[in-house]
């Protein structure tokens, strides 16, 4: 078993990441680019980067994932990747005919210092970009931040490149959903519409990475934020950015450029974070919360109250991205669970402080680490066991090794379906999260119950 290699003694590690809880910027940038309609992501680097990112996304979504690459050679690494990128732009528009090419860099092209502004401008001047078509880029060096940073940089780049202001409000609101699943993006749109708001959601991977079986293969599926919507973001009444790490930069960029006022909220995971999201929508648009949404909230609360005794003081270990973990920890604490080991691969002291504040009143020691890894999490678990583990698919090794009830949460999920179709955000997503948590906790009780305590009604 893979994780039998985990020893309980925690030795200081300075130069090393073991079993990562993150991956690199470009895959996040590729994911964000897929959320634009008729857009082909382009990886400016070696062929392998593009192949790995496509494979990673393909395994997670079980959908075709399209992206092109500059196919760097030794020559381009010495003399720069300009010729490759210009040829790539030409070839892509000729062969695949997207409306937009979203270029992201890699550690290689960043380090050799390719100037993407200059290269894309040259491509335009040389007539490689047909009229009405667009090439824009984000700098996503793999040695800074994580996949979340890449998502944030690409999202900011699309806001800055496309947005325009006509001086007349379009009567709409920008919502930046953060690094969440296509299902979550639909759910966020649905709630906004229920509130009577016409959102411009960007990026929007719903109907791109959770498309139906049609018997057809379409290189560019029907979903994704339309070009005209992206352009119109500069005319919106305001922006609500969900998830500070993934979305705040783009929202602030729109504020800075076109004075579109923005609010940054946590991802709407769990009861209170969703309350804040709904409240932000309500205030921003000056509308009242419809009964339908109040009902959904009540249903989530109903599950919490019905089942609260099963949550009581259950210890939880978590691995994931900061934007997800903060509202999730808040939610778990709120329902009387005790998140005691929390790891994210993305660095940042603010994360640790926030988690410490959320868990300060718990009657036990809480381990939290930003820039940590799964190995560290497993060591913590071995030293102080938990009742529940929530992590991406790689968590299954720990779950099996230490026989822990396990809920898959985050990226990547390589061994189960559902995440692309059923949200874990907003009230309904909260209900689904609770269902998943209760399923594994109660299954465990059933499994371990002696015959006389094996209950029919729970």
């Amino acid at each position: 078993m893979l994780l039998r290699h985990t020893h309980t003694e925690i030795l200081p590690r300075e130069a090393l990441t073991v079993n990562p809880a993150k991956t690199c910027q470009p895959v996040g940038a590729m994911y964000a680019s897929l959320g634009i309609h008729n857009c082909l992501p382009h990886s400016h680097g070696s062929q392998g980067c593009c192949a790995y990112h496509r494979s990673a996304l393909t395994r997670h979504y079980r959908e075709p994932v399209m992206a092109a690459t500059s196919s760097f050679t030794e020559g381009s690494s010495v003399f720069g990747g300009q010729a490759n990128l210009i040829q790539a732009i030409d070839n892509i528009f000729t062969t695949y005919d997207p409306d937009i090419i979203a270029v992201h860099t890699t550690c290689l092209s960043e380090t050799i210092g390719d100037d993407l502004y200059q290269i894309t401008n040259k491509a335009v001047k040389e007539g490689k970009v047909p009229p009405g078509k667009h090439v824009f880029h984000a700098n996503t060096p793999s040695y800074v931040g994580s996949h979340v940073t890449g998502f944030a940089n690409m999202t900011k780049a699309m806001a800055l490149y496309f947005s325009k202001s006509t001086g007349v409000h379009n009567g709409r609101f920008n919502i930046i959903p953060g690094y969440v699943e296509p299902s979550d993006m639909s759910e966020i749109k649905r709630l906004a519409r229920e509130m009577g708001i016409r959102p411009i959601l960007f990026p929007d991977t719903s109907d791109v990475l959770n498309g139906p079986q049609t018997g057809k293969y379409k290189m560019f599926p029907q979903g994704g934020t339309p070009l005209e919507d992206l352009v119109s973001t500069g005319d919106s009444m305001g922006t609500i950015a969900l998830g500070p790490l993934a979305s705040a930069d783009a929202a602030r960029a729109l504020d800075g450029k076109w004075h579109v006022p923005c609010r940054v909220e946590d991802l709407p995971i769990g009861l209170s974070a969703t309350d804040r999201f709904i409240d932000a929508l309500r205030k921003a648009a000056g509308v009242s919360v419809p009964d339908s949404i109040t009902r959904e909230r009540g249903q989530l609360l109903d599950i919490i109250t019905d089942m609260h005794q099963y949550f009581y003081q259950k210890k939880v270990a978590l691995a994931g991205d900061p934007d997800h973990l903060i509202p999730l920890v808040e939610f778990l604490v709120q329902i009387d669970m005790m998140p005691i080991h929390i790891v994210t691969g993305t660095s940042g002291k603010a994360f640790e402080k926030q988690i410490q504040a959320l868990t300060a009143h718990l009657p036990c020691k809480v381990n939290v680490k930003a820039g940590g890894d799964m190995f560290m999490l497993h060591q913590w678990i071995k030293n102080d066991p938990v009742d529940l583990l929530m992590a991406n698919t790689y968590g299954k090794y720990m779950a099996k090794d230490d026989d822990i009830p396990f809920v898959r949460f985050g990226f990547p999920i390589l061994d189960r379906v559902g995440h692309s179709y059923f949200p874990t955000t907003c009230y309904r997503g909260g209900m689904r999260l609770l269902e998943k948590i209760l399923d594994v906790l109660l299954d465990r009780m059933d499994r371990d119950a002696p015959e006389e305590r094996f209950e029919l009604v729970m």
Binding site: A15, T17, P20, T23, T69, A88, T95, Y143, G215, Y394
Partner: protein, 456 residues
């Protein structure tokens, strides 16, 4: 959907037997801007060395390269599983500016202290080649202190294709073999090394068992389920038996040159190729007719054991059409033969890394009308799969959802699968898997008729 156009420069990489006359152009770098299914140098090195189970595999670079290759292959181990851990120096901005050598050295010592591996491989990623870390020097230094072989793998992603990665891996592996080689020069009688076999789903175990029954000693396997110490006597084998077209041929050539070990190329896929492989090995020892007798007996027994089920399956699969897109062309040869055995017709065949001879042979093997592709993109694959109305697609992870979207069966013949497809037993598994997917009733539920619309 618009008609699918093919890049002008790619025209010579797409061939239809019977219609076209030109030589297929191959071995080219992918065109910039193509949605290629190919990977990089690092990927090639990583897959070859990964199954050495008691070695440390440290990826020197930013986190991505380690993340994407963390335990995604089905290479099984009968013992240590250190190879399945993901170790990375996780280089950050300051390392890029000041160099990553110190971090690498520290990481190696930290890991060696904890895990006491038998050897360590350090994989260089793109960035390492650019910032100019002297990885070889660091390895040498650590090796001197730690007392185990510490080998740099020069697998910077941009230095070529996956094939160049195989070569980098072969260089590192040869260095390990040469360094750990025991001082006895005598050959081990009736012995072979198995090269290019990675124990996906336990395939090495199946093949080892065949050789055992034939009376042949397997000295070492490169690299399926291997241990570092296995390689100390690799140089004493009489013959190198090389599977998989690209990956380890250059190591075999090197071992021939340095140790005088001849090599043969084989495939363990399908009845014909597996039998031929075993017979070829047996005939290498002509003064031992008993080995040939045992081989013949083995083949008879094994074939007899699987034929009844194969016939049953064949009845269902007869006349169904298959499309193949694989990494190495050698795999494609075996697949074509195996599919013929099941009564199926191959209508499309392509590879990522085939060479001129490979494509010449493919042309010979295929029926008129078969489309042959080098380094294809998803649009081309989809176009020809639909035109040829295939029932089955054989490929890897990136092709799978395309096949399913189009509504046809799929078989993973890549390294992520968990089912052994090697040997006679593997042929039975393969047939079952094909049958499972092609005959599934779910294809009756999908709107297959839409194919016609897509082509308009």
């Amino acid at each position: 959907m618009k008609p699918i156009s093919i890049l002008e420069d790619r025209k010579n990489q797409v061939f239809t037997k019977g219609d076209d006359e030109f030589d297929i152009s191959c071995g080219k770098k992918s065109l910039a801007g193509s949605v290629s299914q190919r990977a990089c140098v690092f990927c090639g090195s990583r897959v070859v060395l990964y199954p050495i189970t008691d070695a440390l595999h440290l990826v020197h670079g930013p986190i991505g390269c380690a993340s994407y290759t963390w335990d995604i292959r089905g290479a099984l181990s009968s013992g240590p599983e250190l190879h399945r851990m993901s170790f990375s120096t996780d280089l950050s901005g300051t390392d890029i500016i000041y160099g990553g050598e110190k971090k690498l050295e520290k990481a190696l010592f930290e890991l060696i202290d904890i895990y006491r591996p038998k050897a360590a491989f350090v994989y260089c990623t793109c960035i390492v080649g650019i910032i100019g870390d002297d990885v070889a020097a660091v390895c040498k230094k650590v090796e001197a202190k730690a007392g185990i072989p510490v080998l740099p793998v020069h697998s910077e992603g941009f230095k070529g294709t996956k094939k160049d990665g195989y070569k980098a891996a072969c260089d590192a592996l040869f260095s390990l073999i040469d360094r750990s080689r025991e001082e006895i020069p005598e050959k081990i009688p009736l012995s072979i090394n198995i090269l290019g076999e990675f124990n996906i789903g336990g395939e090495t175990w199946i093949i080892r068992e065949y050789y055992k029954r034939m009376g042949i000693e397997v000295v070492s396997v490169m690299t399926g389920d291997s241990r570092v110490e296995d390689f100390s006597s690799s140089h004493r084998a009489c013959l190198n038996v090389v599977q998989c077209s690209g990956s380890l041929t250059c190591l075999a050539q090197k071992m021939e040159k340095e140790y005088g070990i001849p090599f043969i190329r084989v495939s363990y896929f399908g009845i014909e190729d597996t039998s031929k492989a075993l017979y070829d090995v047996a005939s290498f020892f002509p003064d031992r007719p008993d080995i040939m007798e045992k081989t013949a007996l083995l083949v008879r027994e094994e074939v007899a054991a699987i034929l009844p089920e194969l016939y049953e399956i064949k009845a269902d699969l007869k006349g169904k059409r298959a499309a193949i897109y694989v990494g190495g062309a050698f795999k494609a040869f075996s697949l074509i033969k195996a599919l013929k055995h099941l009564g199926m017709e191959v209508v499309l065949v392509g590879s990522q890394t085939g060479n001129k001879e490979d494509y010449a042979l493919l042309k010979d093997m295929c029926n008129p009308g078969t489309v042959i592709l080098d380094d294809a993109n998803p649009l081309e694959l989809a176009k020809y799969v639909l035109e040829k109305d295939a029932h089955l697609f054989i490929g890897g992870v990136k092709e799978k959802p395309i096949a399913y979207k189009l509504g046809l069966g799929f078989c993973d013949h890549n390294h992520e699968r968990k089912i052994p497809l090697a040997g006679f037993e593997g042929m039975k598994n393969f047939a079952r898997e094909i049958h499972e997917t092609v005959s599934s009733p779910v294809w009756d539920l999908v709107p297959r008729k839409c194919f016609v619309d897509v082509l308009k």
